[in-house]
Structure formats: structure tokens, C-alpha cells
């Protein structure tokens, strides 16, 4: 019973935190975009524009709900829901912090410690493309379909390199559980130092998986009107846009956990905190790392132009994939030599 209360409260908490962060990521995006362009950005809604995401959300709800006449209604509604669900599901395996002890009960700050966490991650992330595919297909609009095809082929191409980068990481740590991968990085033994190339590959592929610039060919306005969400309006469009920010958050969290020590930071055990407060500080540190990565996502968006489609495919198949394979072989070779 207690177990379920604990888990359900954790699920609700993680869900809310994810949504709030995604909400404020939209504000951060607009603010930082403004700063990068010598502007001020939205600052009228509330102090420093802090209520802007709320205003945007309310606006989305009041927009006209429009479904094209020839669209498949069921799939049309299913698309954004699926995007959102797939985006949120990934949070389940991310370890947010050390176990904390409340009233003599040990509580894991992770919803589910799957022993195949990395596999689950890769699986759910690739589910995300179904939302885009179904939405694009159901819209009955040629631009939407083109965009959906683009999105899916992009996902497939980059998932390969991503998976291979993950395999090299798993070979290095010897575990598929995210918790164990994070635990193994305590004391500054961050995986990024052992897998720099793997991290770079994973980073690039995360951009592609999250559909962010420079890999946002699925919503390339100049060629495809609005991309897969051309026909969407109101909160269904909001869901798609929101899922992108959740994906960005998740990608940042996964990168921090896999390569940057998760909730560990050098000196965590030397400052003499009690276990509980050390765990909480660890959670804070984890979120700082996530924030840094999200800033990087935004920073890249306002720096790089979008790739051309053939460049995207060339990069994925001819550069990232061979590099990932080489990285994997090299890692295997090294662990054989040293281990």
C-alpha cells in the first residue's frame, strides 16, 4: 500500500515538474532568443514576463478547434496525444536523486528502476515519431505527409547512431539500468571523460530526436508550410509544441544522467551533509545540469541554420553511423585490454 502511495505521488510530482519545466522552457526559449538577437523578449505578462507561458496556454485553449473535413478524426486527435504520452513516458526511468529516508522508509527518487532502462529509453523515444507520423497522415494534407515522412526517416537514421553510442556506453559501465549507470559515475568519474566521442554522437542524435534545429526538417516552414502540424490548431497544436519541449527536457536529463554523472557532483560526500540533504542537493545539481543542457539546446537553435535534407541524411548515415561503430569497436577493444 505504502509502496503504491509512494510511487503514485512520485509519478504525479515528476509529471507536474516536467510540465512546469516544459512550460517555462517556452518562455526561456523566447527570452534567450531575444537576448541572442539584441532584443528584450516577452516581459509584459507578470513580473519579468513570468506569466507568459500561462497566457500562451490560455490562448491555446481559446483558439478555434478545427478538424479538416477529410481528416481521419480519430487519428487526428490521437496524433498529438501520442506525442505527448511518449514524451512523458521517458521520465519513468530517469533517476532524479539518491534514495531519501522519510519516517524510516527508504524512498527511491526514481519511478521505476528497470534493469533494461537504457533499452526502455531507446524504445520509448522511437515511439515519439508515431505521434508525428499519425498526425501528418491523418491531416490529409500533402505537406503534413511529406513532413511526417521526413520526420520518420530522420528518426530511423539517427536512432541507429544513437543506439550504437548507447551500446558503447553500456559496454563501458556494464549495466543497462540507468540507476547503476549513474551510481557508477560518483566521484567525478563521469562517462563523458571515458566516452567523449560517444557523448558527441549522442548529443547530435538527441537534437535530431527532439526535432530541434538544426535537424527540425519536419517543420521546415520555407518548404512545408507548418510541417506535420499544418492542419492543427488550438490545444492539439499546443500538445505538439509542448511535446517538443518535454522531449528537450528529457534529452537533457538523459544526457546529464548518462554522461555527466546525474545527481553526482565532485565533492558531494566531502561537505558533510546528512544523507537526506545530500540527496536533495544532488537533485538540485541534477536539475542544474539539465538546465545547462536546455540552454545549450536553445543556444544552438539561435546559432545554426537548418540542414538541407541530403546533408542531414549524409551526416546520419555516412558520418555518424561509421563513427558510432568505430567508437563501439574501440570501446570493446579497450575494455578487453584493460578489463
Amino acid at each position: 500500500m505504502l509502496f503504491w502511495i509512494e510511487k503514485i505521488s512520485l509519478v504525479v510530482l515528476v509529471f507536474c515538474v516536467t510540465l512546469v519545466i516544459a512550460m517555462y522552457a517556452t518562455l526561456a526559449e523566447r527570452k534567450f532568443a531575444a537576448f541572442f538577437q539584441d532584443r528584450i523578449g516577452p516581459d509584459r505578462a507578470g513580473p519579468f514576463g513570468l506569466l507568459q507561458p500561462l497566457a500562451d496556454g490560455i490562448k491555446f485553449f481559446f483558439k478555434e478547434e478545427f478538424i479538416p473535413a477529410n481528416a481521419d478524426r480519430f487519428l487526428f486527435v490521437l496524433g498529438p496525444c501520442l506525442s505527448m504520452i511518449a514524451a512523458c513516458m521517458t521520465t519513468a526511468v530517469i533517476p532524479w536523486g539518491h534514495d531519501i529516508v522519510i519516517f524510516g522508509q527508504t524512498m527511491a527518487l526514481q519511478i521505476a528502476d528497470l534493469n533494461v532502462g537504457v533499452l526502455y529509453l531507446a524504445g520509448v523515444v522511437s515511439l515519439g515519431v508515431y505521434g508525428i507520423m499519425i498526425g501528418g497522415w491523418a491531416s490529409n494534407n500533402k505537406y503534413s505527409v511529406l513532413s511526417a515522412i521526413r520526420a520518420s526517416s530522420q528518426m530511423i537514421s539517427y536512432e541507429l547512431a544513437m543506439g550504437l553510442a548507447l551500446i558503447a556506453l553500456v559496454m563501458h559501465t556494464g549495466s543497462l539500468s540507468l540507476r547503476e549507470i549513474v551510481q557508477a559515475q560518483h566521484g567525478g568519474h563521469w562517462n563523458v571523460f571515458f566516452q567523449p566521442l560517444g557523448f558527441l554522437l549522442f548529443l547530435i542524435c538527441s537534437f535530431a530526436e527532439a526535432n530541434r534545429v538544426p535537424f527540425d526538417l519536419a517543420e521546415c516552414e520555407t518548404e512545408l508550410v507548418g510541417g506535420y502540424h499544418t492542419e492543427y490548431s488550438s490545444m492539439k497544436l499546443g500538445f505538439y509544441l509542448f511535446a517538443e519541449y518535454i522531449n528537450m527536457f528529457i534529452a537533457s536529463a538523459v544526457m546529464s544522467a548518462l554522461y555527466f554523472g546525474g545527481y553526482h557532483f565532485p565533492g558531494l560526500y566531502h561537505i558533510g551533509l546528512s544523507d537526506n540533504s545530500a540527496a536533495l542537493v544532488g537533485v538540485g545539481v541534477f536539475f542544474l545540469k539539465i538546465a545547462a543542457f536546455m540552454f545549450f539546446f536553445i543556444w544552438i537553435r539561435w546559432t545554426l541554420p537548418r540542414f538541407r535534407y541530403d546533408q542531414l541524411m549524409r551526416l546520419g548515415w555516412k558520418i555518424l553511423l561509421p563513427l558510432a561503430i568505430a567508437n563501439m569497436i574501440f570501446t570493446g577493444f579497450l575494455s578487453l585490454l584493460l578489463g
Binding site: A34, D38, W299, I300, T303
Partner: protein
């Protein structure tokens, strides 16, 4: 050919070096450029609180001027309406009755003077055509509205108030205009 500016570059179709093809150094360079802009002075003018200064030649909402004694200057000659390339001005003339000398400066005056702000292209030709220095374009902006009817501005909105302190200052327009 002699280059027109110091910024021209000759396009060479040379193959990129390995370092350039790597692309990552270029990305880092780009990131550095955008990051520098983070701390640049912001160019935004926070509009309702701070208004940008208009140039003297700015042509906005019209005003129909009164003379120093408060009489309307327009004599309904119709030259502005003729000059107007957008045909935005409609005038009905009337004759001044005895005792109205304080209201209208000339014997003939405009009983109706309407400018359709949706037609107007703010070219300023009406101002140039006017022999009586009666109509001027000012640095004010035509307010927006949902109704077409609201954009037809009649005398009640165009003629400036009599009170000296409420007069619309157009002295800046004389900067490039003939004498008053």
C-alpha cells in the same frame, strides 16, 4: 572590375580542408558569436512607455489648423482634394454668414471636410497644395479600429481645438515648407 566596396569577396570553389569539413570548430565559432550578442545593448524601444522620436518629415494623421484668433483657416478651395492621388478628401463648401467671422477666416468655408484614412496614403500632397496653410500632416498615428466607418475622419476630429494650449504644433513641418 574595380570593387565597389571593401566588403566584396571573390568566390572560389575550392574544396574545404579537413578542419573546415569537420564543421564543429565552425559551430563553436558561431556559438561564440551568438553568445557575445547575449550581452550587447538591446535595441528594443519599450513602446507605450517610450516613444521613438519622429523625423521632421514624418507624415501621419492630418490636422486642420485655426489661425491665431481661432478661426478655421480652410476656405474650401478644394485644391487638396484635387491634389490627393488617393481621392481621400471630400469637401462641401458653404458661405460664411455675417457674425461668423470669428469662426471662419475666409468668406467661404468647408461645411464638411472628410478624409478617409483607409484611402489616404499619407503622401502629404494635400499639405503642399493648400494655399491657406490649413491642412497639415502631423506626427500622430491614426488609431486602429474594427469598423471601417471609424476611419472616415470628419471636421469634428480633424480641426484642432480653439484653446491655445491644445493646438496641434506643426512648426516642425515649416522646417521644409514655405513661409506661414
Amino acid at each position: 572590375m574595380h570593387p565597389l566596396s571593401s566588403r566584396s569577396r571573390v568566390v572560389v570553389n575550392k574544396t574545404m580542408t579537413f578542419w573546415e569539413r569537420l564543421y564543429l570548430p565552425a559551430i563553436v565559432g558561431g556559438l561564440w558569436i551568438t553568445f557575445r550578442h547575449f550581452f550587447y545593448k538591446k535595441v528594443t524601444i519599450r513602446y507605450p512607455e517610450i516613444k521613438r522620436i519622429f523625423s521632421p518629415v514624418y507624415r501621419g494623421l492630418h490636422v486642420l489648423k485655426r489661425d491665431d484668433l481661432g478661426a478655421e483657416r480652410c476656405t474650401a478651395c478644394g485644391l487638396c482634394a484635387v491634389a490627393c492621388p488617393a481621392e481621400a478628401i471630400t469637401i462641401d463648401a458653404a458661405e460664411r454668414k455675417p457674425g461668423e467671422e470669428g469662426l471662419y477666416r475666409e468668406e467661404k468655408y468647408a461645411a464638411k471636410y472628410e478624409i478617409n484614412m483607409l484611402r489616404c496614403i499619407f503622401c502629404g500632397l494635400c499639405e503642399e497644395a493648400c494655399p491657406k496653410q490649413a491642412v497639415y500632416l502631423t506626427d500622430r498615428i491614426v488609431p486602429s479600429s474594427f469598423e471601417r466607418q471609424d476611419f472616415i475622419w470628419g471636421k469634428e476630429k480633424l480641426v484642432e481645438p480653439v484653446e491655445p494650449e491644445k493646438r496641434v504644433d506643426v512648426s516642425i513641418r515649416h522646417y521644409f515648407q514655405k513661409e506661414a
